[in-house]
């Protein structure tokens, strides 16, 4: 993401009667904000940010797996409300994102993206599912179900980050995100933590994608991998190869996705499994 200088310096620096309260950006795992298990941090634009290790990825997958059945079992209506609530909460913290250097128009677009996906929660089944005509006395339905736990290497922009998290979670998946723009991502995590999103549904790790992503790609308990934020083609190929070991679904969008455009249903349907049920009728 292009970094513009922060628009407001911390007021504490100007006001000499107070000590500056310096913020450490920590991870977001299982609804909590832990430091990295490794104890490592790194500096991003002068801020201390936790540098996640493979064990943080492991813990995040455990949290995501634990949260998944209940999140998928919630009604679509409920999930839609929670996503809408996220939009409300970002709206309230708009200034914080702008202060981090995110363009105001992009914050607006990110809010709109949450609202857009919130609306899809109780409609995707009608679009991706079907009642199939079959040659026999059967009532035949195809219904979409969430894939499960999704590992995501997120693109740098806030809109890109929202555009990879929202389509995954709206249908009942839970995600482990490796974020490349840590301050905006963890500020988004603070929004999620106060938006009725159950702990573990979204887990955000900050650090080096090249270090963490291979552990997600090879993890037996991760069901799908979204490589939207991987710029290095060599790394992407390695991750795809590792993911093949457990037959994960892999999303590897062609480079240069414009997240400001209409996303369509593709990002949602890519992380759905279709279950077809044959039910006898006519007896």
């Amino acid at each position: 993401m292009p970094k513009s200088p922060k628009t407001s310096a911390p007021t504490a620096v100007a006001d000499r009667s107070r000590l500056a309260v310096r913020k450490t950006y920590k991870l977001y795992v299982g609804g909590k904000f832990p430091r990295s298990e490794s104890g490592r941090t790194y500096l991003v634009d002068g801020d201390n940010v936790a540098l996640a290790s493979r064990k943080d990825a492991r813990d995040a997958v455990l949290a995501a797996r634990a949260a998944q059945p209940k999140w998928a079992g919630a009604t679509a209506y409920n999930r839609g409300q929670v996503l809408y609530r996220i939009a409300e909460m970002i709206e309230a913290r708009r200034a914080e994102f702008v202060a981090l250097g995110v363009a105001a128009a992009e914050v607006d677009a990110a809010i709109d993206r949450w609202v857009w996906y919130a609306g899809w929660s109780d409609k995707i089944a009608q679009v991706a599912g079907n009642a199939n005509p079959v040659a026999g006395p059967f009532f035949n339905i195809s219904a979409p179900e969430p894939t499960g736990v999704v590992g995501v290497v997120a693109p740098g922009s806030l809109l890109g980050l929202v555009s990879v998290i929202a389509p995954a979670v709206v249908t009942g998946n839970t995600v482990v995100v490796v974020a490349s723009n840590p301050q905006a991502a963890i500020t988004l995590a603070e929004v999620l933590a106060t938006s009725d999103v159950p702990g573990g549904v979204v887990n955000i790790l900050t650090g080096k994608g090249a270090e963490i992503a291979p552990w997600l790609a090879s993890h037996d308990d991760v069901n799908a991998l979204d490589l939207s934020g991987v710029d290095d083609p060599g790394l992407a190929t390695d991750l795809e190869r590792a993911a093949a070991g457990t037959l994960k679904r892999v999303l590897r969008p062609v480079s240069g996705v414009d997240y400001s455009g209409d996303p369509g249903t593709g990002p949602m349907t890519a992380l759905l499994e279709i279950k077809t049920v044959w039910h006898p009728k006519g007896f």
Binding site: R58, R65, W215, S218, H219, D220, D221, V222, G245, T246
Partner: protein, 316 residues
Amino acid sequence: MTATATSRLSGLPDSPADLRTFLHGLPGVDKVGIEARAAALGTRSVKTSSKAQAIDLAIRMVDLTTLEGADTPGKVRALSAKALRPDPADPTCPAVAAVCVYPAMVPTAAAVLAGSGVHLASVATAFPSGQAPLDVKLADTRDAVAGGADEIDMVISRGAFLAGDYGKVFDEIVAVKEAAGPAHLKVILETGELGTYDNVRRASWLAMLAGAHFIKTSTGKVGVNATLPVTLVMLEAVRDFRERYGRQVGVKPAGGIRTTKDAIKYLVMINETCGDDWLSPDWFRFGASSLLNDLLMQRTKLTTGHYAGPDYFTLD
């Protein structure tokens, strides 16, 4: 207390009053000290090849347990098969120490385990409460042994123990041991109901004096099960008992041990408290069910180099 009970070891207290004096003469447990010690031992880092050895040892120490009202012969057969080959995909994975079931399920498990070297433990004596007449407890024990169990996990009468009737508890253990015949006797203290570490220490000594082969923390049926400090108190008791009477007694924490990390903390604690004489399935067991899958997942992680998932292991 009977004369036969006391003749096993020299220097034993030989009347209920003496027993009481002896048990209350044991030094008190420093609660803060024991908890700090257990917590400190839980911080050791065990990695790579040491971890691989610890995991295999822990697997060999597992008493794979199912003690549910809903146990069916099918479930017990499946569990017994898992005990023999915990990881069917990896023949180098060792078998567990024993299978632990209710007496009614003993014949079912025995049919699978016969001749395998995996022991068959049965809870008995009105498990888990122990609130039944002695005759019933003895019949329960005999049935389990007749069905093929070679280890008996008995519960003590916590009611009698807490009322201070140590003689009754002692006599019951002696009687059950006699009824169990050749089977090894594990005595469950149910430490979650004993209230204090002092009581845990007394109950440990009482069970050992009465002839227990193993002392076990819990049934797994009450709110508080095995904890590190309680197990540490019991490990100190078996260490001191061997020093005094020359007989080695095993320890089995049960209930609430679910992760490899927990299991390794126990192994560290044994080594630091009793030395490696106890680092063997003959002298230390884990009463657990879900622990085994976590051990297998960690083992798989070490052999394959990537994280394992529960989808690839059996549910029970």
